[in-house]
Amino acid sequence: MVAAIASDDPVRGSTLTLREVSHCFDLEGKPLPVLDRISLQVDRGEFVALLGPSGCGKSTLLRLVAGLDTPTVGSLLTEGREIEAPDPSRVVVFQDPTLYPWRTVWSNVALGLEARGLLRTHRGRIEDALRLVGLTGFANAYPHQLSGGMAQRAALARALVNDPKLLILDEPLGQLDSLTRITMQGELVSLWQRAGFTALLVTHDVEEALFLAGRVIVLSQRPAHIKAEIANARPYPRHRGDPHLVELRHQVLAHLGLDATW
């Protein structure tokens, strides 16, 4: 039953190409550059983490990928086509779960299907998505009755129910307590492995990036440019104490200029 959302077909994800993407904000008449000529190629089904200091423009980059904003210069393509507007094949999970407080968990998860007029035919997927994130018993609960971790799971289900080809994760675990976070990191990996989507994760947590991603892109301070790319070929499931990961962590911190704390 879960197969409706999570198939074992590994090539269900879409590709993502960023070509020389730069972006400026207009701050009281003065241009504020946030992204500086970022080029990136993400393959089908890849899990890529964007790592950088707070306020470096990571979230802006994700908004561009989602199609919520258009870049000042450069272009973004998925499957060879330019990204011009939001599309349900590219779903964002934001740092804040932002569930609609007037809808139950079930109707929140149903949002995407309802918006596209698929609710009648694909109703069963909602139950599947809730089961996938372990919220089966909470279908009729309202968001204010959920804990932070449960709300974020509901937000994840709301994304997954649309069978995304590219899942954009904007620090989705940033507001959770550290124990819930560790659990959810493991769950994210197994979801990604089963569903086969391409995942683009923004985080400022080095350990999280290395635990989840096959490739870590280190971004600089604003305006962000790519400082380093670190491939991480350790097999899943990964272990936090893995000496290879610890070594990679040292490398990443060095790129961020934080190795003095090692």
């Binding site: 989602a66 919520l68 407080p101 007037w102 918006a115």
Partner: protein, 339 residues
């Protein structure tokens, strides 16, 4: 759900000892003392003769009504030992007791001692007399007022809601409608009265326009502020999930704005009462407002009090109804907001 509740042993089902028995006894004693207070009102009305030269026809009826109320309360209090549906009575008993004292005092200073000047301060039996003898005209008045109020209120609320959503959503609508709202909105609706009675074919349609205006303005302003204040992340979420503009308005903006809309509906309802009464006093030849005016013209102060009382029931009943509607529609707010 009720089945679950039914399985819990009721405190009142095991009288005899403990805390619960104590509270049952207390509620019984409370209920009986309220009944005693109303019996006292009944006895006082019946056995203390009215001031000699007065001729109140309904003194006996009032005494009988108070006595009946006392019996009903006593039975309710006794039944409360067995049935918890009468628990509400216990909560009301301090108020019922205070009301008995108020009625006794009112009866004494008017009908019995004649301390307050007539006809401005009639005794309670005079009001009973009005309600019994003039109920046809009072009922007609209530119906006429309700019809006028309902038509005007629904019209105004609907237009105000649509206008509010339009200016909250569309830049163009905001540009053109907002200044009009800012300029004309603060004008009290009653200021339009002379003009409205002149322009509209009937005083009824003129009053509907005025009530709609008084209702529509706060509804429009609060709907607009609700729509404009919607968390932009709600729109981002819906857009990435493939929502159309129509979906964003109907399924995101409007539900998110509903708490504000209800504040507007409450304000509009209050405004509409004021305009209703003024319109009925100045132009419309029916309704409770008109009845008030008529009663004052004939110095029939008892009729006026009766009409005022009915008006209070009507207005507070409608407010309660709106609260019920809000609690039903905005049940998701439970635990978030309380007002």
């Amino acid at each position: 759900m009720s089945s679950v509740v039914d399985e819990v042993p009721r405190p009142s089902e095991k009288p005899g000892f403990g805390f619960f028995a104590g509270s049952t006894t207390r509620s019984l004693l409370g209920g009986l003392s309220v009944a005693a207070a109303w019996s006292m009102v009944a006895a006082l009305t019946a056995f203390w003769p009215d001031k000699p030269e007065s001729d109140w026809a309904y003194t006996g009826s009032l005494a009988a009504a108070c006595g009946a109320l006392a019996v009903a309360i006593a039975l309710g209090a006794l039944a409360g030992v067995r049935f918890s549906i009468f628990e509400r009575l216990q909560r009301l008993s301090p108020w019922l007791f205070a009301l008995a004292l108020f009625f006794a005092a009112w009866e004494v200073v008017t009908a019995k001692l004649g301390l307050l000047p007539l006809p401005f301060f009639p005794p309670p039996q005079a009001i009973v007399e009005v309600v019994v003898e003039d109920w046809v005209r009072l009922a007609e008045g209530i119906l006429a007022s309700a019809r006028l109020l309902a038509t005007g209120y629904f019209l105004g609320a609907a237009v105000g809601f649509v206008v509010g959503v339009a200016i909250g959503w569309s830049r163009l609508a905001g540009y053109w409608i907002h200044p009009v709202l800012r300029f004309i909105g603060p004008l009290p609706a009653t200021a339009w009265l002379p003009l409205a009675f002149f322009i509209f074919p009937s005083s009824f349609s003129a009053s509907i326009f005025l009530i709609a205006l008084a209702t529509g303005f706060p509804v429009a302003v609060l709907t607009w502020s609700g729509v404009a204040g919607v968390n932009s992340a709600y729109y981002d979420i819906a857009r990435t999930l493939g929502a159309t503009q129509r979906f964003l308005v109907l399924k995101v903006a409007i539900p998110a704005a509903m708490p504000h809309v209800f504040v507007g509906l409450f304000m509009g309802l209050g405004n509409s009462f004021a305009v209703l009464v003024v319109a009925e006093m100045l132009g419309v030849k029916a309704g409770l407002g008109w009845y008030l005016q008529w009663a004052q013209g004939w110095a029939a102060y008892a009729n006026m009090y009766a009409a005022l009382l009915l008006m209070a029931f009507l207005c507070s009943g409608l407010i309660t109804l709106l609260f019920r509607l809000r609690d039903r529609l905005l049940s998701w707010q439970k635990g978030l907001v309380r007002w």
